[in-house]
């Protein structure tokens, strides 16, 4: 394992641990309110990510309906993002598959979906 790989793995592990810790710290049964989104506080608009924390907390509780209500886009985007990350991480092993999955239209669709979600949720 190269030094760079180890560095990336460590960073990912720390990030995952901090997210779980934050979810635990702000879990509604623990007493603390969920973290307020700074963009929302500043502009009054929901950004594409607003509610994703509560959505994943609701998912941890097994409350799918509540999770959907907090941020439906995050629930759909999470597995897609994980899939894309795995495809890109192994792009040297499957260059053609990588090119097929990360097509121009995939990227345009992703950008359009984020933009559309941002507009729709602020209607």
């Amino acid at each position: 394992m190269s030094g760079r790989t180890r560095l990336i793995l460590t960073a990912v592990a720390i990030a995952v641990a901090s997210v779980i810790f934050m979810l635990y710290l702000t879990h509604s049964s623990y007493g603390a309110p969920p973290l307020r989104c700074g963009i929302k506080a500043l502009t009054g608009f929901d950004c594409p990510g607003c509610g994703s924390q509560r959505a994943f907390q609701a998912l941890l509780r097994g409350d799918l309906a509540a999770a959907w209500g907090y941020n439906a886009f995050a629930l759909i985007a999470a597995p897609v993002a994980v899939f894309l990350i795995v495809v890109e991480a192994g792009r040297e092993c499957w260059p053609r598959f990588h090119r097929a999955v990360l097509s121009k239209w995939t990227i345009i669709a992703a950008a359009a979906a984020v933009a559309a979600w941002w507009i729709i949720r602020n209607q």
Binding site: A15, A32, P48, F73, L102
Partner: protein, 174 residues
């Protein structure tokens, strides 16, 4: 553009660039193509410059130019390199692998970091792919780099905001 290479003292070819790299060509491997007067190290061929990793070191002392260029090129002399299955699965096009677009990471950052900077990263993902399709591989690598820069920025600003918001939340509890 097809090249002949000398590996283990044997001239082989002709290969497309992708095949050549898979054969284990390094910066110092002697290569020849039609129009060249003699074998030259692969590292000095301008068209091949983008295909080597920057970490590769140059061993000029390993050069062996004793074998004369195989000319004229006889297509029947083509030798396969590597397994045919790899070829069937990946085709033998001459394009280098596409750089990472960081699309998945930028989507995750957009959704999780509360800072919609990931969207700028997604735009650079699209530029990476667009330039790659145009054959602008250096431009594609550059766009890929910027996609990762915006990813890092959105994570860093997301963390700063998270810490700030967490601090205000904790203060409000006191």
């Amino acid at each position: 553009m097809e090249y002949w290479i000398i590996i283990d003292g044997k001239a082989r070819g002709p290969y497309g660039v992708a095949d050549m790299i898979r054969c284990g060509v390094t910066l110092s491997t002697p290569v020849w193509r039609q129009g060249m007067t003699e074998w030259v190290p692969a590292g000095t061929v301008r068209d091949l410059a983008g295909y080597f990793s920057v970490n590769e070191t140059y061993h000029s002392q390993q050069l062996d130019y004793s074998t004369p260029p195989p000319s004229p090129v006889d297509p029947a002399a083509r030798q396969s390199c590597g397994d045919s299955e790899w070829r069937a699965a990946n085709g033998d096009d001459d394009r280098p692998p596409m750089p990472s677009t960081y699309l998945g990471w930028n989507i995750a950052a957009t959704v999780l970091c509360c800072i919609p900077l990931g969207i700028i990263g997604i735009i650079y993902s699209a530029m990476t792919r667009g330039r790659y399709d145009q054959g602008d591989y250096a431009g594609a690598r550059n766009a890929s780099k910027w996609a990762s820069v915006w990813l890092i920025l959105s994570v860093v600003f997301g963390l700063i905001q998270g810490v700030f918001v967490l601090a205000t939340n904790i203060l409000s509890l006191l």
